[in-house]
Symmetry: C2
Subunit: 457 residues, 2 copies
Amino acid sequence: MAEQFVTLEKSFMKLLAEKKYQTLKDVMATMNAADIAAVFEDLDEERTPLLFRLLPKELAAEAFAELSPELQEHLIRGFSDKELHEVVSELYVDDAADLVEEMPASVVKRILAQADPEMRREINEILRYPENSAGSIMTTEYVSLRPQMTVAEAIQRIRRTGVDKETIYTCYVTEARRLLGTVSVKDLLLAPDDNTPVSEIMDGHVISVSTLTDQEEVAQMLSKYNFLALPVVDADERMVGIVTFDDAMDVLVEETTEDIEKMAGMLPSEKTYLRSTPWDLFRHRIPWLLLLMVSATFTGMIITGFESALAAQVVLTAFIPMLMDTGGNSGSQASVTVIRALSLGELELPDLPKVVWKEIQTAVLCGAALASLCFLKIMVFDRMILGNTDITVMTAFVVCLTMALTVLAAKVVGCTLPLCAKRLGFDPAVMASPFITTIVDALSLLVYFSIAKAVLF
Amino acid sequence: MAEQFVTLEKSFMKLLAEKKYQTLKDVMATMNAADIAAVFEDLDEERTPLLFRLLPKELAAEAFAELSPELQEHLIRGFSDKELHEVVSELYVDDAADLVEEMPASVVKRILAQADPEMRREINEILRYPENSAGSIMTTEYVSLRPQMTVAEAIQRIRRTGVDKETIYTCYVTEARRLLGTVSVKDLLLAPDDNTPVSEIMDGHVISVSTLTDQEEVAQMLSKYNFLALPVVDADERMVGIVTFDDAMDVLVEETTEDIEKMAGMLPSEKTYLRSTPWDLFRHRIPWLLLLMVSATFTGMIITGFESALAAQVVLTAFIPMLMDTGGNSGSQASVTVIRALSLGELELPDLPKVVWKEIQTAVLCGAALASLCFLKIMVFDRMILGNTDITVMTAFVVCLTMALTVLAAKVVGCTLPLCAKRLGFDPAVMASPFITTIVDALSLLVYFSIAKAVLF
């Protein structure tokens, strides 16, 4: 893929430099909207308006919808009102609503001025829904049928109205805007008799979402049921739009990226990495770094509290990183597993006792294995091979016992915190590695020094 | 969703206990295959064969395809040959191939014996492709059209053969099995003239994948182009099957879960959390824990090397956890961002210099912010409020300088390692938090003690 792309870009540059516009026009007409957008993103911004004007109308709108907000804005600023009108009127309503949401006020005004009244109304309707809700990602363009229509009439209606609709393959049977059932084009085409009324072949067990349903839940439902689209109904159970599978796929990818960013202690960002400036990255990363640095004060205080003991047994210090890291890793394994299972809907709050019990058993297995190997490592490698005679059997014992207890504490904390966060209405994803590490650090040091004090002094 | 489910399960249990089979049958006939599978998974295994027999034939096969391999095996072991034949012949070929792949040899033998010769041939064909390749997830059932057919003939053909095909909405125009173009049912339905030949309305710029293309790449292409399905061609450019969007969505979710597991230092697992035994969890988690514990030996050796210095300045020990954690967090922020961008295809190897430069700038900003706040914290909180008079301005200076340098090293290591791993053909996802932490720990301690030795002694 990537290599193909580089070649394509090079050809584009050459053709542009040689002003071979007809060739460029012919090449672009054979391309896919997504690929055209990708090439545009990599070109010098100044060149894009010229190239864009070479695209056939419909393809131009499709490619436009795939561009980054920055490039969209750049293009719009160069458009005449007529050009803007052409692009906007070819956009699907949900793409137009996305566009309006991203642009600065002055550009929005121009866009809305160039949209047909009908589209303007629909854009505004979508924009009224809260961010990340089904209403905000739905499109209001879908094929609706009446229950008493025959199969032949239904196919006629699709043929007549379908060209503007984002998906025509699932049609919605409504009466007074109430959703009665769905019928697929497949069902219509495969119906044995053209005169069968739609109501007889439709599927009346409709799964729908509300305008306020979270977009991630909508995407997961689409993925679970393998639907092409899900109908969206308002508070009065009236159908207002559909969410299509391609938008759901995008939502799944975006939401997962956000989860991953949160799990690594970052504020989620909407820009891709290459488009983010160092200042963007800084702003998204520094809050958690500061918070976690400050909270490490407690760990420091624990060490200070045991300073005199440490001064007498400096050898204990050498094992602090190993204990802290193993604890942190054990904890984040548990928390990340639980967070992912929560966001895939595999786990629910009532599963907490089951989860804790499973993690305790796992921790005992891991703790035993780690402690045994650690004991061997300390006695053979550190004491015999490195010849560190400060290390006694008792030191090794203290380290290994701490190891086992730390792993246990880490796994229990790691699996409990995300579930508790969910219970309290917070996002479980922030309860991942960095946060768990800080807690487990403090716990492991407390255990370490307490056991050391009891056993060694 | 979840609450609905619990209620449904309870009703099922009651109806089962009261032996109201007719009611159960009626209820299940109204349900979706995915929901039926979810209820089955939660029921006592013993009850499932009885319930399964109450399902209408087609729905039974659909629900069967959604079940976990464990439950599938349990059901098959209870099936008569006739029942097995009924289920297998209703399965889509790709689902049947998945089934064969998951079952133990004795069960596979029975399944293949009950499959029609045609299906057996197709299953075997799919199974010949390497795991995670497009060939292994494709289905061989699709609608193919000849270029010289008219629109009316094409619609006729879909009506006649479409009922068995997994998706009918994109049809493939082939000649001698060579793929000439695609035509959607939408194009056919909206064609102005029924007598137009298919070759005139088909899209000849076909995007296809090879049987050996990685399934993740296929899923990303489907998501990028918003296609319902992608055609799969063999080495001779002959069309052999299609990958549909619903399978692509599953692949995206699975591959991301694997990435997340790897990033948290676990071997990827195919079982869901609730289905994994503690022993499963142990086996997937212990390898990295052991490896990372052993590698912490180096960190320990660094501390031991500076033991005499530490004994003289025990106060330095108190800052070790803060320095290690901040370094680890900074590094994993960079590595996780880069890993995610790599797996979304936003970053490529040639971007390395750009990435490193961006991370250096970000590190300078983060390092400056963290070091300043840290200096303030040490002087005001640790020294004045806690009254720790061992802490001098020079100590604070050493800690803060180490902090800034550690953040810089962590960000550079964090962004470089995943890209290097990719270059060497390894999976970048393993170059995440745990691994980075271990390296950054060692680096930060080396820097810390070296600066301390130079400044304080």
